[in-house]
């Protein structure tokens, strides 16, 4: 146990671990100290100075987020001096912030707005500085809009991009009045190393970094009688959407969401889970083929370990930073893009609609998916496979715009076909989930038995540890896979690109751990912590969403991808050559591009 330190805040004694900050100690006493640049996921900055307090014996007012406690320390959080200084700090922030609050995308979910309301700040005490600066609004990225005129320079985005994602597309440039958040030479987010993961959006306290929204385009499509609008929803959306609609963190809203989508006017309410199961079939087969090629055929062209390719932020990361490792990436498209390719081929045929009239919309916990949908190679149906990608947040906005009461909606089901998914598909939303789903299917395919874990729950691959490893022994294999008899499958799971980076360094340096299969998700916690999820997201919220994902998995009748009846159906009537067959390659697999590393 850490050494204990005794101090007093507002006269009340409190004991905390040595090394704690004043802010932590205050929380323990339920004393609220307002903050702005502080974020639980990030290192201390002490930049905004909103959280200042009075410390006995000190002339200045220290930032409570940055100052460690010491024995006998005496703190006051609510003196006249503190209140006046804090108000000044907020008024200064407002003076450099373009206050178009009523028409701001973050209206109603802005931390600066909340603080201003809390302190009844007078926004016109100081002179407006916004027009004194040349500012740009960068909207060239398909995923992210960066509006410098609203930036409060808290550097949460910079810390996110560096500490959590190891990308550092965003940095700080200039000094003094010219100090701002910049990419390399202030180039557009679209032209730099940005992975579009949107973690910066998730942490921006104001409207300086927001997603590029496609809500109006989707409303237009819905209103167009000639268009058949299909919608798919990613697994992580159903455990987070409720947060933006008045429900507690991690509430499962799968049924209400289906009802809502139908009432919004989508013609078919389908499920990305279907193509998540399909991904397992394709990717699992690809893995087994690679294992055979490397271990049995000793083909030097076969690359191991194989890494997952479901997370478009991760895919762009490796394209930028480890292009030499692109052969390690599974050629499988992500579930979103598999769905898109099938919606305008298989599905269009089945319902007898001209694919030109199908508008394919996906609801994702992710902003990188917006970029992924617009990649030029994602047109294997002959059209752009996925037309519009909305985040969980955008769907919540549409539901609010439609005006119905989400909480009182009935529980409904998705349409079939391409609407059924298994528990294995649901857990794609959490770190370790793709690995677990793949193991449930691959193990059974190879051995003819279920994975040897109680209730199919492969606990070693679950959890919030940044990098996880597991080994699965393959014994008594069925004849077709007998060459794997006695082999120990070694897997690795990483989430958050900073961890992906560490894993890729090892792979580049010769894969000393002997991994065969690696799952990577760009965002901390996996998709449940995605850049398109409700704000705020932090470690506790990620845990609650994860618990909900596994709850949803255990609730479902089918929990292994290969047992999904719709999967059997599609391989019977459409992808007749089976997984990784010719048609699969045409529609469900892709290739990658080396990109500049800045």
């Amino acid at each position: 146990m850490a050494n204990q330190v005794n101090l007093k805040i507002n006269g009340m004694p409190v004991t905390v671990d040595e090394g704690s900050t004043i802010l932590h100690a205050a929380k323990k006493l339920d004393i609220h100290i307002p903050t702005l640049c502080a974020h639980d996921d990030l290192c201390v900055a002490g930049n905004c100075r909103v959280c200042i307090v009075e410390q006995k014996g000190l002339r200045t007012l220290p930032a409570s987020c940055a100052v460690p406690v010491f024995e006998g320390m005496e703190i006051e959080t609510n003196t006249l001096k503190v209140r006046q200084a804090r108000k000044h700090v907020l008024e200064l922030l407002l003076s450099e912030h373009r206050q178009d609050c009523l028409s701001c995308y973050k209206n109603g979910n802005c931390e600066l707005q909340n603080l201003s309301a809390e302190f009844k700040v007078n926004g016109s005490v100081f002179m407006d500085l916004v027009e004194d600066h040349r500012y740009t609004i960068d909207h060239y990225s398909p995923s992210i809009i960066k509006d410098d005129s609203k930036c409060v320079r808290c550097q949460r985005c910079v810390r996110t991009c560096e500490e959590l994602q190891k990308v550092s597309a965003l940095g700080v440039s200039g000094k003094g009045a010219e100090m701002k958040i910049s990419t390399f030479l202030d180039r557009s987010m679209n032209e730099v190393v940005c992975t579009n993961c949107g973690q910066c959006i998730n942490r921006c306290p104001v409207g300086a970094l927001v997603e590029k929204d496609y809500i109006d385009q989707v409303w237009d499509a819905i209103a167009d009688p000639k268009k058949h609008v299909v919608v798919q929803t990613a697994p992580a959306v159903r455990v987070a959407l409720g947060e933006d609609l008045g429900l507690p963190n991690g509430e499962i809203v799968t049924g209400k969401m289906a009802a809502a989508l139908r009432r919004l006017g989508f013609d078919s309410v389908l499920d990305t889970n279907f193509t998540a199961d399909l991904t397992i079939m394709e990717e699992g087969t690809e893995l087994l083929m690679r294992l055979k090629g490397a271990l049995v055929d000793k083909n030097p062209k076969v690359t191991l370990p194989m890494a997952t390719s479901c997370s478009p932020g991760w895919v762009k990361f490796i394209e930028h930073k480890y292009p030499e490792l692109l052969p390690n990436l599974s050629t499988c498209k992500s579930p979103q893009q598999m769905f898109g390719a099938l919606a305008k081929t298989y599905y269009a045929q089945k319902i007898n609609v001209d694919p030109a009239n199908i508008v394919s919309v996906s609801i994702m916990p992710c902003t990188a998916k917006k970029y992924e949908a617009q990649r030029p190679e994602m047109r294997s149906s002959g059209y752009q496979d996925v037309d519009y990608v909305l985040t969980t947040r955008e769907l919540a906005i549409m539901i609010k715009q439609a005006g119905f009461d989400f909480l009182s909606l009935p529980i409904e089901h998705t349409d079939s076909f391409m609407g059924v998914g298994t528990g294995a598909a649901v857990i794609f939303g959490a770190t370790g989930g793709v690995m677990e789903a793949a193991l449930r299917t691959a193990y059974e395919l190879v051995t003819g038995r279920e994975v040897p874990f109680q209730h199919l729950d492969i606990m070693p691959v679950r959890g919030m540890e940044g990098v996880k490893e597991a080994k699965v022994l393959l014994e008594n294999c069925v004849p077709a896979w007998s060459f794997l008899n006695g082999a120990e499958l070694s897997v690795c799971i990483a989430h958050g690109l900073v961890n992906a980076d560490a894993v890729m360094k090892l792979v580049r340096d010769g894969n000393p751990h002997g991994w065969h299969f690696i799952e990577i998700m760009a965002c901390p916690g996996g998709c449940i912590g995605g850049g398109g999820q409700p704000i705020p997201t932090n470690i506790e919220i990620r845990k609650k969403r994860t618990d909900a994902i596994y709850q949803e998995d255990s609730n479902l009748p089918f929990r292994k991808s290969h047992t999904n009846p719709e999967i059997t159906e599609i391989y019977t009537e459409f992808l007749t050559e089976g997984p990784c067959g010719h048609k699969s390659h045409e529609l469900l697999h892709t290739h990658y591009t080396e990109r500049v590393g800045y």
Binding site: V167, G171, K175, S182, F184, L185, Y598
Partner: protein, 154 residues
Amino acid sequence: MYESKSLVKALADKYGRDSEALMPILQGIIAEHNYLSDEAMLNIAKELDLSAAHVFGTASFYSFLDHKERGKFVIRICKTISCDMKGKTQILRTIEDTLKIKNGETTSDKKFTLLETNCMGWCHKAPAMLINDIPYTELTTDKVIEIIQDYQQK
């Protein structure tokens, strides 16, 4: 524009490739070329395995690490209080007239760039200026014309 790859490599060989080498390498480029080209910053990022935004962000913090193209001789006139009181504006105008450029500009032959800078520690001998690294103090209009003429010969 200039070729920077080999220079960056040579500087990295000399100063190392950890993040601490960034400043000396940036300064090494400046010593050679007077400004940091886009390509030079990218090469440094690659050589030191830093993000390009970090290299740019660091350079842009320091007033002597220009990333805009500069002439062979960069003139920096001190604009802080003592030099201001002792007639720096007149000196600035004189140079502008002599070189036919405004403050912030570079002559078309890329020989001179004219800038202002903050206190350079010659307050007792104001007004003062730097040409590249060399200080000139107690300037008068006559004196500054003479200095510029000298440099025009170089």
